[in-house]
Each structure stands twice: as structure tokens, then as C-alpha cells.
């Protein structure tokens, strides 16, 4: 491993966030706070049908309404979000000839303000001829009742994989079981809805785009390509972003229309989604079916898994990637989880339907695959009559097996799989739980424990958010000795301004408050992939370490020259450089910086003027696996079907921690989303293809009273990458749903219940108990 700063003072410390003061006083600027004189606002006319031909659009009345500046249809703005090398179809930014999901944008109204725009949207008449919608995955695979896109098969992604030897091993095992696991559509629901604002820059004539996105350079590249403009004519600025969770990693139709309108009208234009639009049109996720067969031995050893994975990708591939492909293909490769299951066979069908496009939501494949994998283990345990923890021990990958190549060919770097489980079981008091459980059942209380041991692929060389496997940092020690560093990341609440400053401060030898982190402006930031796929910590943080180290080397060289000492004798810290053992022979970093910029004759020969550089970091490994164990303890009220989460333990291993305070915040938040995923959140379509959950009164998010106090513990198995850092943004949501529903299955063991769906509702539980 590469040598870190001599005395890491900030990495690993519970440093309070530099972002907080502006957010706590109402001073932060989110997208809807962007306002400039003359700014126009957009409202969209959206499809009320899941499938229909557009027979005509009458915009006369809307155009004539006072305050309306433009009414835009596809003919005006003929742009298609189409990744042609990957998919046969793309989504027109405004519907073209046909609508394919409820909520699809059809016409855009640009007006003096949102009130006027929305009123004018009511005046647009679209004549539709309804078509029979495609709503069922199984039927869609068979091209029934019809094709969603006339010229493309409903199956837009197919893949099959078999481990060598599977065909012999599967039938040879002593026992077999089958299950179908179903996840219902969910979505990220960032508290800040999506939005975009665009304005021609009066000075340069370029287009400035404010985007609520996770990936500033990606959206700039997308806009340049789609609109046919040179990239350097677009400046993307990402303001404060109120949550992303993968959902803000895409480029959406509305983004393009807003930028196009600003360009045409030469006026600033803004659109901010309302909550109904969000639930209808933010990418959905988790619409998957896994038909699983498992082969296992008497002692619970799992020999082979066969899985038919299906995902409903919605009407179009979200741009530039379909969540259906992401959810299934990675699930198929990480399905064995932390277990040494030698054989696997997977077959994947991703299909089109007349529903909202499927994209990313935190964890993407992970919450689904963990739910399937941990559901399999619990079923095997019940089938052989052994304790679920014991069956996990029998199958767990041992420390001496790393690096471990799983049955699908994924290579895991070292982790603390078994250790994390034992720690978590200890924290929740598993040893005595079964006795307590038996006693409580006599009183009519159905209490259960669910275990979920997860692996989390992080720092992937190419994640869904970033098309690149590296991150870049531009770092400058200012003439005053303060440090400015710019990143291509797109934080949405993760606190990068704090964590990246911690890493750089240690390297450069200054205090964390002397480092300013910039991000989200393509004019100042070097090219980067953005935030997503749990890559910002390990890859962005890795780049921060490399940039900081290179700057450190430059400062050391300069200090050695000026202090007439050997470079290896120079130490940096607290804003000072000094000769080791001779603290009097010292200079401040401010003095060094002043010389580097203004007294350049004193710089040693061959050293560049100034203190600025760009560093890039791409991990050598294509992926680094974090891991951990969640254990949930729940009570199920068998009269009402209501579940109460009583205790919750997370033992997490994401390598070296940059800031435990922030890591724990990510864990708590992910578990809460897991409670939503397990029990509350469900986007439901009726038999006509209408989404019936279009408000937060129908799509339920966990409230403070739904979430228990959680207990966390950190284990540290460093990665081989810079700083030993692994990613961790998604692991908590990957692990949680499986732990929660397994706890319900455990509580309801006397009724023979094994949960096979996400979410599981009170109604489901009542039906199972009555059956």
C-alpha cells in the first residue's frame, strides 16, 4: 500500500461538516432558489394514458394565454435520448406520435411563472387513440399483448451464464427447493425534486445550465451530444442537491427541453418537478422477478443456485442506461453473496412495458439480490431444520479464501464476512434470543430475528453514474497558504466538502478549515465521473490523496531547498514545514506559497512556478467489496399484520474510514430506506396502466416513528487501493430489506411463513396467517 501522510490527523476523525452552517441557516442555494431577472418557468403537459397514439395536438389556446412565451412539441425540439450502441430505441424528449407511459412529457409550456405555465398547460388539447398497454413481464417476454415499440422486441436485454460443472452438480445434490421472489416498483424520492435551469451567459454567449444531478460532466457531455453543441459552449453548475440516491444520475427529457428553450428564447428558463411529477417520472426501480431453484445438502451446504431474473425496464431505456439491465446483470454476478456456493446458472430477460422507465435507486441490484440470497439461506435452514446462523457459518467464505472468485466469476478482495456476522449476533444477544422467542410465543407475541450478511461491490471502474473509472482533482495552494481543490464529483448530501478536505489537509499539512473543496462546476472542476455506485469515497478520495501527496512532495522540495536540508528531513503539519528534530528551522506554508508565486527566483531549478496541479486516480482493481451484517429484531402483530422494528444492529466494514460520523449517517439513512423498502414503499399500477401512488400519502416513506434506534460497529479490512478506502453509500440499503423480511419470516415460523416479496404489507401478513 502507498504511504500516507506521516501523521493522519483528520482521516478517521469525527470531523464536523463544513457544509452545515449554510444549510442550517437557510443560506444554501438549491436549484429552485436559482432566480435571475426575467426568468421563465416551464410546466409540462403529460400523457394521461399508458399507451396511445397521438392523433393531434391543439396548442392554440395555450399559445394565446397571457404570459405564455412558448409552447413546445416534439416537432419543435426533435431530440431523442437514445444510446444507440446499447439499445434499439430511445425516448423522444417530448412524445412523438405515441405515448408509452403515464406521465410521459408531451408538450412544454414556457411562461412568465409557474402559475401561468400550469394554467396554460390545462388549455392544451391532445387527441389520443388509446392502445392496449403492456403491463405484465411474463406476457411482455412473449411479445403479448403487443410490442411496446413496433420495431423492437419487448425483450431488450438477454443473457445466460452457467458455471462449468453446474449441470452435473445441480441434480446430484441431496435436496432441492424452489421459490419466486418478487420486488415491487420503488423509487428514490429525494426530498428535493428534480429540476433544471438554463440561461445564456450574456458575457460569453455560452449556455449555463444549473442541474440537480450527480454527474456534472456527464450531463454536460449528454447535452452537447444531444443538442449538437461543442462541449465548451456549455457550463454545468450543480447547486446544492437535496438527495440523489441514483435517481439523479440520469439525463432526463425535461433537462433537454429546458436547455433547448433557453437557447431558442435567449432567456433564462427553469423547471422544477412537483411531487406528482416526481413519482410519475423520476426513474423507478426494483421491478424484478427471480425464479429460483436451489440445490443443497443435508447439513445446509448450498451447492448450486439456478435463477431466472426478469426486470421490467419500463417504456424506454432510461438515458444513458437502463436500470433493468443494471439490476439484473449485477445481481446475477453477486447473487452468491458472502457464501461459497460453487455453481450458479442465471438467465436474464429485461423487457419493455408501458410504465415509467427503470433507472437506479441506491443499491440498484443489491437490495434485490441480498433479499433473494438471504431468503435462500433461510429457506435452506428451515428445510434442514438448522439455525439460520449455523447454515450461514457452514456456507460462509473463510478469511483464508481471499481473494475469492465466486461462482459467477466476480473476485472479492478481503473482507470480514464471518467476523461481521458473529459481532452482529453478539450485539443483538442472539445466544439467548431463541429462549426469549419461545417464551414470548407462549404469550402470543411473535418476535423474530432476521440476519443479512451482505457484500457491496464499490469503487467500480465504471459505475452507472460515471462513464469513467477514475476521478480527478485540481489542487492549488493559494499564495496565502490556504488550499483550494476542485473535484468532478456530484455530492448530494454525503459531505464531500468535509471528507475530501480531511484527506487533503493531512497530506498538505494544513488544518481542515484551511481547505476549500469545489465541486459541481464544469468550468472549475477537472473531468470526472461524478457520484454514484459508492465510488466517491474510494475513487474521489483516492484522487484527493494522490493530489495531496503530489502537492506535499512539491512543498517538501521547496522547503528543503529554502531551509537547506534534505527532502527526507522535511516534515509538514499545522501549516508549517520544518526540519525534523530542529523545530526552529521552519517556514510556514504561507511563506512557501508566497515564494512559489511571487519570489520565483528562489524556487529550486526544475520546479514549476506556483503550487497548482491536477492528479487523477483509477484503482488498479476493477471493484472493491465492502461487507457487513445487519440483524433486525421485530414483532409482528398477528391480529393486524403490523410489524414493529424493535432492535437493529449493523456491523459494517468499508475499509479505512474517512469520517465515522458521516459513515454512520449513511448507515442509518440506508437502514431507514430499507424499512421503507421492506414494509412501506410501493409504486402500484392498476390493471389499466395508471400509476395509483402519485402522492406521499399513497407512496409512504418511513417517518421518525417507523425507525428504531440502531446500533453500529465498524470493522476495518482495508482495500488495496489508495488509503485502504472502500465505498459504503449503498451497503446499508443492500443489507437492510433482507434482514427485515427474514425477521418477519422468523417471527411467523409457526405459521410456515417465508416472505417472498418486497415490500411485505400488513395485508400480506394477515392473508398468510389466515391461510
Amino acid at each position: 500500500m502507498t504511504e500516507q501522510a506521516m501523521r493522519p490527523q483528520f482521516m478517521g476523525a469525527r470531523v464536523k461538516r463544513v457544509e452545515d452552517p449554510r444549510l442550517l441557516t437557510g443560506q444554501a442555494r438549491f436549484l429552485d432558489d436559482i432566480d435571475v431577472p426575467g426568468m421563465l418557468e416551464v410546466a409540462f403537459v403529460r400523457s394521461p394514458y399508458p399507451a396511445a397514439r397521438i392523433m393531434g395536438i391543439d396548442t392554440k389556446a395555450a399559445k394565446a394565454a397571457p404570459g405564455v412565451r412558448a409552447v413546445i412539441a416534439f416537432e419543435d425540439c426533435p431530440v431523442v435520448l437514445w444510446q444507440k450502441d446499447a439499445y434499439e430505441v430511445g425516448q423522444p424528449v417530448l412524445a412523438h406520435g405515441e405515448v408509452r407511459y403515464v406521465g410521459e412529457p408531451v408538450v412544454a409550456i414556457v411562461a412568465e411563472n409557474r402559475y401561468v405555465a400550469e394554467d396554460a398547460a390545462e388549455l392544451v388539447t391532445v387527441h389520443y387513440e388509446p392502445l392496449e398497454p403492456v403491463l405484465d413481464m411474463y406476457r411482455s417476454i412473449a411479445e403479448n399483448p403487443r410490442r411496446v415499440h413496433e420495431n423492437a422486441s419487448n425483450v431488450f436485454f438477454y443473457k445466460k451464464y452457467t458455471t462449468k460443472g453446474f449441470d452435473e452438480a445441480f441434480p446430484a445434490a441431496a435436496h432441492h427447493l424452489q421459490e419466486t421472489f418478487r420486488t415491487t416498483r420503488q423509487t428514490a424520492v429525494t426530498l428535493e425534486p428534480r429540476g433544471t435551469a438554463a440561461m445564456p451567459d450574456p458575457a460569453s454567449g455560452r449556455m449555463t445550465v444549473y442541474a440537480s444531478t450527480q454527474s456534472p460532466h456527464r450531463i454536460r457531455g449528454d447535452l452537447a451530444e444531444l443538442l449538437g453543441w461543442p462541449e465548451n459552449q456549455i457550463r454545468v453548475i450543480v447547486p446544492e442537491v437535496g438527495g440523489g440516491f441514483g435517481m439523479k444520475a440520469n439525463t432526463y427529457p425535461e433537462d433537454v427541453v429546458v436547455v433547448w428553450a433557453a437557447h431558442q428564447l435567449r432567456k433564462p428558463v427553469k423547471w422544477v418537478s412537483d411531487r406528482t411529477e416526481s413519482l410519475l417520472t423520476d426513474v423507478h426501480a426494483r421491478d424484478d422477478i427471480h425464479e429460483v431453484e436451489v440445490a443443497f445438502e443435508d447439513d445446509g451446504r448450498i451447492i448450486a443456485i439456478k435463477d431466472h431474473l426478469m426486470a421490467d425496464g419500463g417504456a424506454y431505456p432510461a438515458y444513458p442506461f437502463s436500470g433493468a439491465v443494471g439490476e439484473t446483470s449485477l445481481a446475477s454476478r453477486v447473487l452468491p453473496g458472502p457464501y461459497q456456493i460453487p455453481y450458479i446458472e442465471t438467465e436474464i430477460h429485461c423487457t419493455y412495458s408501458n410504465k415509467t422507465p427503470l433507472g437506479a435507486y441506491r443499491g440498484v441490484w443489491g437490495p434485490i439480490a441480498s433479499f433473494v440470497q438471504e431468503g435462500i439461506v433461510d429457506r435452506v435452514a428451515r428445510a434442514v431444520g438448522r439455525d439460520p446462523a449455523e447454515v450461514r457459518r457452514i456456507n460462509m467464505i473463510r478469511p483464508d479464501q481471499f481473494p475469492f472468485r465466486n461462482a459467477a466469476g466476480m473476485v472479492y478482495d478481503p473482507g470480514s464476512y464471518g467476523e461481521s456476522m458473529e459481532e452482529a449476533l453478539g450485539l443483538i444477544g442472539y445466544d439467548t434470543f431463541r429462549t426469549r422467542q419461545t417464551e414470548l410465543r407462549k404469550e402470543g407475541i411473535y418476535r423474530g430475528i432476521g440476519i443479512s450478511v451482505f457484500v457491496e461491490p464499490t469503487a467500480m471502474a465504471s459505475s452507472e453514474a460515471g462513464s469513467v473509472g477514475y476521478e480527478s482533482v485540481f489542487i492549488r495552494v493559494e499564495p496565502t497558504g490556504k488550499v483550494t481543490a476542485a473535484f468532478g464529483l456530484g455530492p448530494t448530501g454525503q459531505g464531500h466538502e468535509t471528507t475530501m478536505a480531511q484527506l487533503i489537509a493531512d497530506q498538505v499539512g494544513v488544518n481542515v478549515e484551511d481547505v476549500v473543496i469545489l465541486h459541481g462546476d464544469t468550468d472549475s472542476a477537472p473531468f470526472g465521473g461524478g457520484t454514484g455506485g459508492s465510488r466517491s469515497g474510494p475513487i474521489g478520495g483516492g484522487a484527493a490523496l494522490v493530489a495531496g501527496r503530489e502537492m506535499r512532495q512539491r512543498l517538501v522540495k521547496l522547503a528543503a531547498h529554502l531551509l537547506e536540508a534534505a527532502e527526507e528531513d522535511i516534515e509538514l503539519g499545522n501549516g508549517q514545514a520544518w526540519v525534523a528534530g530542529v523545530p526552529d528551522r521552519a517556514m510556514t506554508i504561507q511563506q512557501l506559497a508566497e515564494i512559489a508565486y511571487t519570489h520565483v527566483k528562489r524556487i529550486p531549478a526544475g520546479m514549476p512556478i506556483g503550487l497548482e496541479l491536477v492528479a487523477r486516480y483509477q484503482p488498479e482493481r476493477s471493484v472493491s467489496f465492502s461487507n457487513g451484517t445487519h440483524v433486525a429484531e421485530v414483532d409482528v402483530d398477528i391480529r393486524t399484520g403490523m410489524v414493529q422494528v424493535l432492535n437493529y444492529v449493523v456491523v459494517n466494514d468499508c475499509g479505512r474510514l474517512i469520517n465515522p460520523l458521516i459513515v454512520e449517517g449513511q448507515i442509518y439513512g440506508g437502514v431507514a430506506q430499507g424499512i421503507g423498502s421492506a414494509f412501506l414503499e410501493s409504486l402500484r399500477y392498476d390493471e389499466d396502466g395508471q400509476l395509483t401512488t402519485t402522492s406521499l400519502m399513497d407512496y409512504l416513506l418511513p417517518e421518525a416513528t417507523d425507525v428504531p434506534r440502531m446500533m453500529t460497529k465498524h470493522l476495518v479490512t482495508p482495500s488495496a487501493g489508495e488509503g485502504g478506502i472502500k465505498g459504503m453509500g449503498e451497503g446499508s440499503l443492500i443489507g437492510a430489506p433482507a434482514a427485515l423480511v427474514n425477521a418477519v419470516s422468523d417471527a411467523l415460523e409457526p405459521f410456515g411463513v417465508m416472505v417472498n416479496r418486497l415490500p411485505v404489507t400488513a395485508e400480506d401478513i394477515r392473508q398468510w396467517i389466515l391461510a
Binding site: T25, G493, Q494, Y668, Q673, L696, A704
Partner: protein, 160 residues
């Protein structure tokens, strides 16, 4: 129509249309963009402000309804440029991530603080259950409010 009210301790007179929402007038006419619109129908709580000391949803109130009343927004919570107890506790406990919902929690938390009662964690969770947060899982928010409210109450008891 013209309305006069007090916003963050200052008298304000503003010309509004009868159908304009309080949230929009505070944000657009008065430039107080600290309150946020997360749902526009009173579920998420990000737009919460105090009206005469009581929390209200500014997305469900018309601006015309606040004539003659006192409004406090997140911008008005700090006293003499110093963060109040709830705001400070939010930093110490890392009770915010993206910060979009935070103004609503701070306003609700400050209301609890002003009630001057000792609250246990369950009571705090119940009191905060009208504010949604998608990032934090509430744990550090409850920790922060617990510290702020109970420190204040403990101090008040000592003073007596």
C-alpha cells in the same frame, strides 16, 4: 391585495394575489428561500414555519391568511448571528445530510425547545413524525433534538 405581518421580527408589507401560497410569497417576494417545497400538500414538512410560535405548513397556507401575524422562518432562528441550540446540536450530531428537509426539522425542533418540557426519545420521534427526511434515518436528528431540548429544560429547572 396588500398584507402586513411580522417576519423574523421585522414588520413587512407585501402585495400579494389572494391565491398565492405563503411558501411562495416567503420564497419569491421576500427572498426567504430557506424553507423548501418537497410535496406542496403538507406531508413532508420541509416548508414548516412558525406562525405566532406554532408550526404551520407554509405550502398549505395562503399568504393572505398571515396578515397581522408573526412568522418565523429558518432564517430567523439564529439569535444575534449565533446559531440556536437546535442548530448547534444538528452540527454536533451530524443530523443533516443533503439539508433540504433540515429547515423544517429546525423549525419544529425550535418549537419543541420553546415549549420548555423534558421529552423522551419516543415523544421526540412522535413530535418529529410530521417531517420527512430521506437521508439520515432520523437517528442523529433525534439525538440532536434530544440534546437541545433536554439541555434547555435542565437549565430551566436549575434556574428555578
Amino acid at each position: 391585495m396588500e398584507i402586513t405581518c411580522e417576519v423574523n421580527g421585522q414588520p413587512v408589507t407585501v402585495e400579494v394575489e389572494p391565491h398565492w401560497l405563503l411558501a411562495d410569497v416567503l420564497r419569491n417576494q421576500l427572498g426567504l428561500t430557506g424553507l423548501h417545497l418537497g410535496c406542496e400538500y403538507g406531508v413532508c414538512g420541509a416548508c414548516t414555519v412558525l406562525m405566532d410560535g406554532e408550526p404551520v405548513r407554509s405550502c398549505l397556507s395562503f399568504a393572505s391568511q398571515v396578515a397581522g401575524h408573526q412568522i418565523t422562518t429558518v432564517e430567523g432562528l439564529a439569535v444575534d448571528g449565533k446559531l440556536n441550540r437546535v442548530q448547534t446540536a444538528f452540527i454536533n450530531h451530524h443530523a443533516l445530510q443533503c439539508g433540504f428537509c433540515t429547515p423544517g426539522f429546525l423549525v419544529t425542533g425550535t418549537y419543541l425547545l420553546q415549549q420548555g418540557k423534558l421529552l423522551n426519545r419516543e415523544e421526540i420521534r412522535e413530535a418529529l413524525s410530521g417531517n420527512l427526511c430521506r437521508c439520515t434515518g432520523y437517528q442523529q436528528i433525534v439525538d440532536a433534538v434530544e440534546e437541545a431540548v433536554n439541555q434547555q429544560s435542565a437549565n430551566a429547572v436549575e434556574c428555578e
